[in-house]
């Protein structure tokens, strides 16, 4: 009888333990890059990060990972006295990165991992804006710059969990890639007459070491 009660008691009390174990296997993670806060981010500040565990049963966890972002600007300038009477401008920036990572070593709260990311990035920038007009360079030039980058990064990472729901990952990488750059510039003299226009485009191969590739703060779901 005593044994029966002991078993009953143990069964009742073990339910929450089982429930916890089941909920500990979280497959989705998403988060942000904390390097943005210091302006040291490699990938654009308008993007978010996500990770998906593909082998929940496996001893060494493997994830597929992505980083995506989108930004668009649409502006209309109305400047009756300047050289721009009316201008409608649209700019779209976007970034997609897909990759894979696998653990090398792991404990319950920390892990070392390696992996690779393929990144595509398209950015356009321009110097228009009233604050710009007021302060300086619209009287001398206006420029529209577009660049696109394709890049592969191989990385080594370290992650740890300060609390159950949150994981912090730090990654360093080696990258190799291709960058296309195009610049359109209109030159004006102080009385706002166009004196020249030039278009400059460059293609270059980039490669190097990135000690601060990403510093991710992610939420486990």
């Amino acid at each position: 009888m005593k044994t029966a009660f002991a078993i009953l008691l143990s069964l009742i009390l073990s339910f929450p333990v089982f429930a916890q174990q089941a909920s500990q296997i979280t497959r989705w993670e998403f988060g942000v890059d904390a390097l943005t806060l210091f302006g040291k981010n490699t990938l654009p500040d308008y993007s978010l990060f996500g990770r998906f565990l593909i082998n929940p049963e496996g001893k060494k966890k493997a994830f597929i990972r992505t980083r995506m972002g989108y930004e668009s600007t649409n502006r209309i300038i109305d400047n009756p006295l300047g050289f721009i009477k009316y201008q409608d401008l649209k700019l779209t920036n976007w970034t997609v990165a897909v990759g894979f990572q696998k653990e090398i070593l792991s404990t319950s709260s920390t892990s070392f991992y390696y992996g690779g990311d393929f990144t595509y990035q398209k950015n356009s920038e321009d110097d228009f804006g009233l604050e710009g007009i007021e302060q300086e360079n619209i009287f001398s030039y206006s420029g529209l710059t577009t660049f696109s980058i394709q890049r592969f990064t191989g990385f080594l990472g370290f992650s740890f969990k300060p609390i159950k729901e949150i994981k912090i990952s730090f990654e360093s990488g080696l990258f190799v890639g291709n960058e296309n750059f195009e610049e359109n510039t209109l030159l004006l003299n102080p009385s706002l007459e166009p004196v020249g226009f030039y278009n400059n485009s460059t293609r270059r191969v980039i490669a190097g070491f990135q000690p601060f590739y990403q510093m991710l703060i992610t939420l486990n779901l």
Binding site: L8, G129, L130, E134, I163
Partner: protein
């Protein structure tokens, strides 16, 4: 309170006892039996009765504790806080504003909250420029920010919750500066009025984590679309062309729609009361 702590300790002991491997089942039984004997040593009732009582007491107490925790949680409906991103100058919303939240479904398991952020900042310009009667001009400029929104939990964890929501915000910024301070052209004397108004539509995804009883830390990312209108009104005297000064009035405006993912929208440190 002491009872609750004792009960917690007891639970721990029992949990450790029952989580021993199967091989040591006999040992486990011995341990649990002796433990229960100690527990019931002072009791005059027989073992079964005591066990029943113990079991019910445990269940009852744990349920009561949960209920009580829920009740105290439900009582706090207001939350007020600040944006920690201001500390590192990465704030998306104006520095001079405060955040507040109000729980509208205290009964529900998943919280629905109304949210707002509001701020006001004023400046008073005393202009001493002495040209054409505009001597000692006094101008007040107020900047204002107001936003309202709603949020709802989609997943609830042990100490935190994931939520989605939306904000509609409006801000107006006014500034006034004198030309001699500008780099634009030192030969011009006068002033300009700069006005910037923004309409902000944000979809918010956030995670909130409770720190102790009354404090919470909420981190939010957003997908937002912001409509900005900037306008400059300039009124100045050009001193370059010959002897006769030329009075110039200019107005420029720009309208910008900016749609973007903003990973660092708000990092709120809030207090519940």
């Amino acid at each position: 309170m002491k009872n609750l702590i004792q009960q917690d300790n007891m639970l721990c002991i029992i949990k450790t006892v029952i989580s021993l491997p199967r091989r040591t089942l006999k040992l486990k039984n011995k341990i649990s039996n002796s433990f229960l004997k100690i527990m019931c040593a002072k009791s005059k009732y027989n073992m079964n009765h005591s066990l029943f009582r113990l079991l019910f007491l445990l269940l009852g107490l744990s349920t009561f504790q949960e209920l009580r925790a829920q009740q105290t949680e439900k009582k706090t409906r207001w939350e007020i806080g600040v944006d920690a991103l201001s500390l590192i100058d990465k704030n998306e919303l104006p520095v001079y504003s405060l955040f507040g939240r109000f729980l509208i479904n205290p009964q529900g398991n998943k919280k629905t909250q109304l949210r707002t952020r509001f701020g006001l900042e004023g400046s008073n310009y005393q202009d001493s420029v002495a040209i054409f009667g505009s001597f000692g001009l006094e101008v007040r400029a107020f900047s204002v920010f107001a936003s309202v929104g709603i949020q709802r939990d989609i997943m609830v964890f042990q100490k935190g919750a994931l939520y989605v929501g939306g904000d509609l915000g409006f801000s107006r910024y006014v500034a006034r500066s004198d030309f001699p301070n500008n780099t634009i052209s030192p030969q011009n004397l006068g002033f300009d009025n700069f006005t910037e108004s923004k309409w902000r539509f944000s979809g918010v995804l956030g995670y909130t984590h409770r720190l102790g009883k009354n404090l919470a830390l909420s981190f939010e990312s957003s997908l937002q679309s912001v409509k900005t209108r900037q306008e400059i009104n300039m009124d100045y005297v050009r001193l370059t062309s010959g002897l006769v000064p030329e009075i110039v009035k200019e107005q420029r405006s720009i309208e910008i729609w900016h749609t973007t993912v903003q990973p660092f929208y708000q990092l709120l440190l809030t207090y519940n009361f």
